[in-house]
């Protein structure tokens, strides 16, 4: 898998669209299950509990971005994945879209800074960490964690970043690399 490829190419092929749909559907199923654990941790232990698992949701966004390598891939996966989660009965209902949007946008922001050219491990880790923290912004709004008086929101920041860097960034990167090596995706890295 090539580490670099330039980038502001918005020409999504039919293959790209189908890959995004499949990844979003798989992630929707997985994240609905993980989400129930996260809700339990987040509502009973607060921001610190939620931060431990926060990073576990965005590996597929990174995977999609690294396989498709086009601006918007992570954001589109985020939105579609959120829609599938809503339909599967996610415990936040339409609020799930907030996470899809914020997390997807964070990855897009990191990739935009790299001009959609760098697809190495470091960029994936940074994108995962950013997505995790951006997702927590929405959590704070949705669950009413006010950083002005809740120390936990600030204490959760490093946990969020590490959780996102490892569980999403690193995992997503390694998965993309493994899948790319199998030669299954003809468009991967192109």
């Amino acid at each position: 898998m090539a580490e670099k490829k330039s980038g502001w190419n918005f020409n999504y092929t039919t293959r790209d669209i189908v890959i995004i749909a499949v990844i979003a559907a798989i992630t929707g199923v997985v994240n609905t299950g993980v989400g129930n654990l996260w809700y339990l941790a987040n509502t009973s232990l607060g921001p610190l509990g939620g931060a431990l698992l926060q990073g576990a949701f965005m590996w597929a966004y990174i995977l999609a971005m690294w396989l498709i390598r086009k601006p918007g891939a992570a954001l589109i996966v985020g939105i579609i994945e959120a829609v599938t989660e809503i339909l599967l009965g996610n415990a936040a209902g339409i609020g799930t879209l907030g996470w899809g949007l914020t997390q997807g946008l964070a990855i897009e922001a990191v990739m935009a800074i790299s001009n959609y050219q760098k697809f190495d491990m470091l960029t994936a880790i940074l994108a995962g960490a950013a997505a995790s923290q951006f997702g927590t912004l929405w959590t704070s709004i949705f669950y009413g964690w006010d950083p002005a008086y809740s120390k936990d929101v600030w204490m959760a920041v490093p946990i969020n970043l590490i959780s996102g860097a490892i569980l999403s960034g690193l995992l997503g990167y390694l998965l993309a690399k493994a899948i790319s090596r199998t030669g299954l995706i003809r468009s991967a890295g192109r």
Binding site: V18, I19, I23, A24, V29, Y39, A91, A178
Partner: protein, 260 residues
């Protein structure tokens, strides 16, 4: 069996109700209007009023049985209560009761129900949308307001793949069980098992994606700027009454909060 699933689960059923007949995009916008209101309310009473309104709407205009609403909302209500209790202790204010190192505050007691209703009403409204809307109709209505049909198709395709993936998860789990990799083991082992499941499911899914993409390309998908649908849907301006009534109710609640 299927009837029972429809009775209990979070699935669309055409009950020929008023909510069934509403334009899908109007219902989607209604959910957003409800959600925006809940983020503005400063009193738990406003949240409670919306909770009762959405519940009545689901039962009367949506013909959703109360048992089905309760069955689908159990987890949400439980999480909402946990969130409320967390706010009892976490929000600053005058201490009312000390339970060891934890203190319940007056502000916490007031804020807790606000967040309970915020979570539960947003989710209940989303459920009403799911129970009463065919996803295909929702996608068609989205394309009618300018969403590119390729984008809407991606959402529809993801939903089409959902049952296949759920079946695949069961098949992969069964295959691993046959080889002696039981799922009733410790947490660490289960985590490793899920790693294997996900990779297998991803590979199988992506293989299906490749063949699906080839089939679509063979049918010249994306050649024209617009596409046709087997079942078309039509907007009725009277459907907007739902949004107007909700906006009036929400605005009224916000004004009452300010006055009292």
């Amino acid at each position: 069996m299927a009837d029972n699933q429809e009775q209990q689960g979070l699935v669309y059923t055409n009950r020929n109700s008023l909510m069934n007949r509403l334009y899908p995009l109007v219902k989607l916008a209604w959910v957003f209007v409800i959600a925006i209101g809940l983020f503005i309310y400063k009193s738990p009473i406003s949240g409670a009023v919306m909770f009762v309104s959405v519940l009545l709407l689901a039962m009367l205009a949506g013909k959703i049985p109360f048992r089905q609403i309760l069955g689908s909302s159990k987890i949400i209500l439980m999480l909402g209560i946990l969130l409320m209790v967390f706010h009892f202790f976490a929000d600053p204010g005058e201490p009312l009761l000390k339970l060891g190192p934890l203190t319940i505050t007056d502000n916490g007691l007031y804020q807790g129900p606000i967040f309970f209703f915020r979570l539960s009403v947003v989710v209940l409204a989303s459920f009403v949308l799911i129970w009463t809307t065919d996803t295909r109709d929702l996608m068609v209505s989205l394309t009618k307001v300018g969403v590119p049909y390729r984008g809407a198709f991606a959402v529809f395709l993801a939903l089409r793949f959902l049952p296949l993936i759920q079946r695949e998860v069961d098949a992969v789990r069964a295959a691993h069980s046959i080889r002696g990799k039981s799922t009733s083991s410790g947490l660490g082992h289960r985590f490793k098992l899920w790693q294997r499941y996900i990779f297998t499911i991803l590979i199988n899914g992506l293989r299906k994606a490749e063949t699906t993409a080839t089939s679509l390309e063979c049918r010249a998908f994306g050649l024209y700027p617009t596409r046709t649908y087997v079942k078309d849907i039509h907007f009725n301006p009277w459907d907007l009454v739902l949004i107007v009534v909700t906006v009036v109710l929400s605005t009224g609640l916000i004004i009452i909060e300010k006055v009292i």
